[in-house]
């Protein structure tokens, strides 16, 4: 049946391997946390790793890779677009740093 179409998806062995890989990434994240990086750089690295992890999970665990490409192209760009637009919040958040009332 088409419902379970991604028949060619990976088997349990590969899932276990991916699982170990994901745990390794988490391990790296924790490791980096204690490397006393500046918080900007730490954030950058953590975000990169989080996106890698999420990408792997979405593609393999959620089988997005084995669906028709149309599904991927409908969902992922929409999400990334919204995330990109929300970045317009930052100029104001950062502005708080120098417009904040300290003792006026």
């Amino acid at each position: 049946m088409a419902a379970t179409q991604p028949r060619n998806a990976l088997g349990m062995k590969s899932y276990l391997a991916i699982w170990v890989g994901l745990l390794c990434i988490v391990g790296i994240e924790v490791f980096l946390t204690y490397r006393h990086l500046s918080s900007d750089r730490l954030l950058l690295f953590l975000l990169i790793f989080a996106f890698i992890e999420a990408g792997i999970a979405v593609m393999f665990f959620m089988h997005l890779k084995y669906e028709r490409p149309s599904l991927f192209w409908s969902l992922i760009p929409a999400l990334l677009f919204v995330l990109f637009m929300m970045d317009h919040f930052w100029p104001d958040a950062l502005r708080l740093e120098h417009l904040r009332v300290v003792h006026w």
């Binding site: 699982w19 745990l23 988490v26 204690y34 959620m62 969902l75 740093e97 904040r100």
Partner: protein, 208 residues
């Protein structure tokens, strides 16, 4: 209009094919996941916003117990994703008892995650953390963001456990098929994916 015009007689191919070639409920759950992802994104952005806007943000999480606990939770939740995949695999191979077993393990792992999480909450509440209170002297918003983000996620986990249970019971009674297992599985993996952002952003970024 006459019956012969534009009316389908037989049963073959009554519909235009879906552009994705998947069942409605799978498309539905994907759409739900998309919108839920935006919900989590906005709340994480809000967290980032108030954090950037605060000068005296505190980073109170000690390696032990908080971060270790978080790592265990991550381990458990990721494992539950794999067991969920096991359930789907079994369902596809028409092995209902194995599928149910895997679903059971998934529920157990999910519950373990929730228990670990609630235990941690209780510990923090015991230390004086509240939505509006920061016992270590930083901004009260720390508690607000922590509890609201992890609370939203915990809510999703609990909803997921309930959903898996419902599917498992119905599956046991042969009222659902593998496609329901797949659908609830997608949701469950999504909860896992969200955690992949919550753990670094809420825990690691606040590690001592």
């Amino acid at each position: 209009m006459s019956e012969s015009e534009g009316v389908m007689a037989g049963h073959e191919a009554l519909r235009e094919e879906s552009p994705y070639g998947i069942q409605h409920k799978k498309l539905g759950i994907w759409l739900f996941i998309l919108s839920d992802a935006v919900t989590f994104a906005s709340i994480l952005f809000a967290y980032g916003y108030v954090r950037v806007g605060s000068t005296d943000w505190t980073t109170p999480f000690a390696f032990s117990p908080t971060i270790v606990n978080g790592m265990v939770m991550t381990f458990v939740l990721l494992a539950s994703s794999v067991t969920m995949l096991g359930a789907l695999e079994a369902a596809k191979n028409e092995n209902p008892s194995r599928c149910l077993a895997w679903l059971g393990v998934t529920v157990l792992l999910g519950t373990l995650f929730a228990v670990l999480h609630i235990r941690e909450w209780l510990r923090m509440i015991g230390e004086g953390w509240r939505l509006f209170q920061n016992p270590v002297g930083g901004p009260a918003l720390f508690g607000a963001t922590f509890f609201s983000i992890t609370g939203l996620h915990l809510g999703h986990v609990i909803a997921g456990i309930v959903a898996i249970l419902v599917v498992a019971i119905k599956y046991h009674r042969r009222r659902t098929d593998e496609s329901h297992v797949e659908t609830v599985g997608l949701y469950w993996h999504f909860v896992d994916v969200v955690w992949m952002f919550v753990f670094p952003l809420v825990y690691l970024m606040n590690a001592k």
